[in-house]
Amino acid sequence: MLQPTAIVLQGAFLLVLFLFVAWVVRSTLRDLRRPDELRAAGPAPADATGIHSAATVGGAPAGGGEQRLVVERAPGHTPGMEYEIAGGAVLGRGEQAEIRLDDPYASSAHARLVLQGGRVVLEDLGSTNGTFLNEEIVSGPQPLHQGDRVRIGDSEFLFVDC
């Protein structure tokens, strides 16, 4: 036999449950209608070229200015250090590499940056552990864009083009 108060309490229980659902749904829908959160997050890394195009560049046209790699984190480097890529560079652990990596995961000649028609192109030189562009493994030459991240082992660089 159900008591009236118990029925009221059960009604309150269900009401709270549904109000909670409605509250979360309402906020979620509002998030969906205001897509700046998503747009700022950018598309999937597979087409990472567009991620930073609207932000941080400040409207400077790409290709004309100086292009450089900024150290995000790398053994033996201080974060914020910059390498200018004038006519291209080899990244690796070996003596002849222009950008020396003090990283156990790097091969002696690990990857190469070449300038092709004003664009910097990243190419893996058959390294053991792979080169990653925006956390995607590089298989074949990849043109770099402002804000792209290049990672080799534990070393990570930011490509700046402006």
Binding site: A6, Q10, A40
Partner: protein
């Protein structure tokens, strides 16, 4: 309103549920309202507040709805388990606290969850060992033909609950590296990856089949493999992988249903739950038939808290009411309305999880969030689908609601990982 204040506000409904739910149960069982329900509500609110403060300090940008959603689910679970058995509810409350500690530990210790990638093979090997532990003589336990639990002295737990997190972490890391290679080669117009790239993926299929054979549990095997296929689909954007994978799984499951007695019994119980011989048979369709009766009996508005008939004397009317059949008890007492509300809350949890995956910038985070969310979603599907006779009933827990220590702790860890991913993604998005 800032994200964290929103989260704090969202904790109130959960504690109101505790107050109203316990109040109603007290009233039914002792015919008087006890202000103990207010105390329980306050304690629950205090615990959730502690978790909230940890998030506020460590993950200020994390998704604000995940914690309130799991608090609501846990409060529904605590009320229902209390209503079934007071001692179990006390246990469950302790497990809830342990789960919160695991949740806090994950958030505090795992400063950067991406270090997990570095230990992926160790994590994978550990997970496989955990999965096989229940078959080790002496510590393994068999329940209803499935080997899921182990007991070490007074503590018994289900290692598969933790193994699933490890395997998802491994797969996310592995697919992050190989996703480009998996789709790079085309032959005869279809994507045909090289054997060395697909090898580990076949290994996962083999592992799922092995789980079916050794652990004999269709539910958790489906959970693992489904999570894996979802991640594979997200990683490669090729429908062919999940289609072929489901086909392979179907073949394996069919062979197993035909050859392993206890799996076959489950399937025939699912096909003909009201067959008198199956109904009378031990390990037959009694449980699923009773579950259907209980849900039908609930109607739209339910019988009311404390009204479900769980057992007559010593013989159970609803076997395993606090674990497998808790959804049936909820529908019986709160009706279709209550069942729908609960499923909606799960839907929101899964929506928030996939949203974390959408917002995440790097592939590892995306795949990890996808995998973790899919596993929780499939777990809800396997057990709710089981008790409503959509698929054969197998014993997995209803996340955060069912009685079960390992389940609640493992699910807390999953949500902690989602919050870690979400914090990083949303902070980067704001910059």
């Amino acid at each position: 309103m800032s994200a964290r204040n929103r989260e704090l506000l969202g904790l109130l409904p959960a504690s109101l549920l505790i107050v109203a739910g316990f109040g109603a149960v007290f009233l039914q069982e002792r015919t008087q309202l006890d202000d103990l329900s207010l105390t329980y509500g306050a304690i629950f609110l205090g615990l959730c507040f502690a978790a909230h403060m940890i998030i506020r300090v460590r993950l200020p940008d994390a998704d604000p709805y995940l914690l309130p959603i799991i608090a609501v689910l846990a409060s529904v679970g605590l009320v229902m388990i209390y209503r079934l058995n007071e001692t179990l509810a006390r246990d469950q409350a302790q497990w809830f606290v342990i789960g919160l500690i695991a949740f806090a530990a994950t958030i505090i210790l795992l400063r950067d969850y991406r270090v997990l990638e570095r230990y992926r093979y160790l994590i994978a090997a550990g997970s496989i060992v955990l999965l096989l532990l229940p078959r080790v003589p002496g510590i393994g336990q068999q329940a209803n033909g499935a080997y899921l639990g182990i007991s070490l002295g007074p503590v018994s737990f289900q290692p598969a609950e933790f193994a699933k997190i490890g395997i998802i972490i491994f797969l996310a890391s592995y697919l992050r590296d190989t996703r480009a290679l998996l789709v790079s080669r085309k032959r005869f117009g279809i994507t045909l990856p090289r054997l060395k790239h697909i090898g580990p993926l076949l290994l996962v299929w083999g592992l799922a089949m092995l789980m079916l054979v050794f652990i004999r549990d269709l539910g958790s095997s489906l959970m693992f493999f489904g999570g894996f296929l979802a991640m594979l689909y997200v990683a490669t954007d090729r429908l062919i992988f999940p289609v072929v994978g489901l086909g392979l799984f179907g073949v394996g499951a069919w062979v197993l249903a035909a050859s392993v007695g206890h799996v076959g019994d489950r399937v025939s119980a699912w096909q003909h739950p009201f067959d008198p011989t199956l109904y009378e048979q031990i390990g037959g369709s009694y449980q699923i038939a009773q579950s259907l009766f209980a849900q039908a009996d609930g109607g739209v508005w339910g019988q009311g808290f404390g009204e479900a008939l769980i057992s007559v004397g010593d013989s159970p009317i609803l076997p395993a009411a606090q674990t497998d059949l808790i959804y049936a008890v909820i529908v019986n007492e709160l009706g279709l309305v209550g069942g729908i509300a609960l499923l909606l809350v799960y839907l929101l949890l899964i929506e928030r999880g996939f949203r974390v995956a959408v917002l995440a910038r790097d592939s590892f985070s995306k795949l990890l969030a996808t995998g973790l969310t899919t596993v929780v979603a499939l777990q809800v599907f396997v057990i709710v689908g089981g008790v409503t006779k959509v698929i054969p009933l197998t014993g997995v827990t209803l996340p955060f609601v069912s009685y079960g220590g390992s389940s609640i702790v493992a699910n807390f860890v999953i949500v902690a990982l989602l919050l870690l991913i979400s914090d990083r993604a949303r902070r980067e998005a704001r910059r």
